[in-house]
Symmetry: C3
Subunit: 281 residues, 3 copies
């Protein structure tokens, strides 16, 4: 059951009228919708980032919330438009281009429907092929969120295995060493967010106060190596000092207190950027 809450994510930025047009279309469908943003500053065409931000945020919204996520370099092509119901009870409308990767993997999907872009779209929008965010996703998202359409009425059910997914590395624990990758940045502050979970640290019996040898490599070439304290909060080390912490998704973060780790060491994100952790005895 949807709950009249609609959350929008795009790579459009807020600098022109695109997001506002999506709001307007949704309000025209149903006056009583609550509409909010996830973010509109996904880096242009960066599907991975869109996928991650859904994973980061989804579970903090009430069950029944409908998400629209539009990072859509293939707009107007043959790529499918889909709507997924997650095991957590949320709905996501998005181009089928990998945007569901993290949510499918970490939370699971119950059902996926292909949205029929010809019959399920903003009336009189058929000549426009470059703004499905407005004409397809916001429109149908609002129909679904308001209860005017059910999931099954959006189109044909498809198999979850038909969905496009991006490659997702699993962290590993071997020979007392954990290996993972830099998933994403805490963009504003420049901290690294890895895919290594608190759970995995616990398996290695790492606990607050321990010193951890952190190695960061780009394409297997070492870029950073140092012993970092595993702390509860940034304020436990002095300003500009490095630290290892558990971020708000309960994964390992690597940071400088009140400075940008990413900028200081020119570290970026993706599966080429690997991280290994070892407890210093």
């Amino acid at each position: 059951m949807t709950n009249k809450q609609l959350v929008l994510q795009t790579d459009f930025g807020l600098g022109d009228g695109a997001v506002s047009a999506m709001y307007g279309v949704a309000k025209a469908v149903a006056t009583d919708l609550f509409i909010a943003d996830l973010t509109h500053e996904i880096s242009p065409y960066n599907i991975w980032e869109g996928s991650y931000r859904l994973y980061q945020t989804l579970n903090y919204w009430p069950k029944g919330t409908v998400f629209v996520s539009v990072v859509d370099p293939g707009v107007g092509s043959e790529r499918k438009s889909v709507c997924a119901l997650t095991k957590s009870g949320h709905y996501i409308l998005t181009p089928d281009n990998g945007t569901l990767t993290h949510v499918a993997h970490y939370f699971g999907l119950v059902k996926v429907y292909r949205i029929d872009e010809n019959t399920r779209r903003l009336p009189d929008s058929a000549e426009s092929h470059t703004f499905h965010g407005r004409d397809v996703y916001a429109y149908n998202g609002a129909k679904l969120a308001s209860g005017q359409l059910t999931l099954a009425e959006l189109g044909q059910e498809i198999s979850r295995s038909e969905l496009t997914t991006l490659p997702l590395l699993e962290p590993t624990l071997k020979n007392e060493q954990i290996s993972g990758m830099v998933d994403i940045l805490d963009v504003r502050f420049g901290s690294l967010w890895t895919n290594i979970s608190l759970q995995l640290l616990k398996e290695l019996k790492i606990k607050r106060g321990d010193l951890i040898l952190v190695t960061i490599s780009f394409k297997e070439k070492e870029v950073y190596r140092a012993k970092l304290p595993f702390v509860r909060s940034f304020a436990e080390v002095s300003v500009n000092a490095p630290l290892l912490y558990i971020n708000s998704l309960l994964n390992v973060g690597i940071a400088l207190n009140q400075a940008s780790f990413s900028a200081a060491y020119h570290i970026e994100t993706g599966s080429d950027w690997t991280v290994t952790l070892q407890k210093v005895e």
Copy 2:
């Protein structure tokens, strides 16, 4: 009839408390308003851009929505404050400085009233002369949107011909060649949005798949000349390749797939930047 929906546009940015103060003033007028943003990132003092963004967005909002648009280099001077009712059934409160140019031209205005800035303003705000966005426009926009004031109660009706307007070029079709201008950028992605309509392409019997000779000039000096495919969607050409397409307002756009045309060729906007299109036989 207004519908309790208020949409705000400014050149204030979101970096300080200005927009929030406008929201607060509106909520203090009427608790049950729905308030949303068009954009607050209009380039400072750029009235043309503010005018264009209203044109881009207005029709996607339900009839009865009240827009407040504040790009106001003349705040506190003798320039008028006005409220217009459009033929599309929307209301716009704005300084009379050209902000209504596109909407008046493309959609038409039914009536215009001058807002009496002395009697119709936030109580106790008379000492402040630099923030009419808060003291005059958000305040009266909320009064109007909530039904506490009618359009006629805002002030004196004035003639539409009294309004300040910016010069607006019409595209022309002559000798099998269409000429127009670069109206604005799709800022985030760097595509050029021209004032040449799909309709005009059809008059020249241009259809998807055709090759179009595109010439872009600055003050009549040629800056770019190439044959571009007229496609339905960006994904029909390879990444970084140029294309001609129909944008979400059903006008001609010129772009690079997943790159910025504007940045690549240093092309900006305004009537000095002309575009001609010719079908390649």
Copy 3:
């Protein structure tokens, strides 16, 4: 009495999912909340700026509005979490790190409670120590705004004098000269906002049309000195010309018409940046 309106301020930016997670948590607490932003672009860790933006905005929101302000370099440390009720009838939840400085000084506080971070937090968030904006402030702000908790139920009352405050300079009037400081910038436009009130100008019998000798110094070294007209609005001087005006908080501003004073003369903010005003006879 709270009024179901919740206003959020952070230094998180809008580039990732952090603010959206705060919205989601609040909506999960109470579906009927109205949620809006003050700003999320406070410079990272800049408590002064956060304090100023609350002062700038608070009074334009209806009494009973609940503010959450999270500029929190000490998150997870021993710094307190507090909720204050202001004399103006607003509530502010924030880390106790100086964020309440301006509001306490200019508007006054009625009561302050320490929020018990152990018992009053998002369920199942105890492993997370770096995102109190979500786990403590948005959660309790929503509880308070919706009436599910009273102020006294958040924790223990503490004395106002226990609060951390930042040093705040008072402007002075001596020998026909007013001295103050550059409090903050009107960031988008680059105007200087001083802590010198319109009231103080009046005591010196300065009135619109007068010429004012303005001196700006950094650590007592003179950086700028010129005679500026005291005008009602920017438009009274030509484009790029300097002016002295009364800003929207009824304090003295110093600006260039349609240009950035701050950028032109490399002037920044804080108590090292002093301003003196003298009437030119």
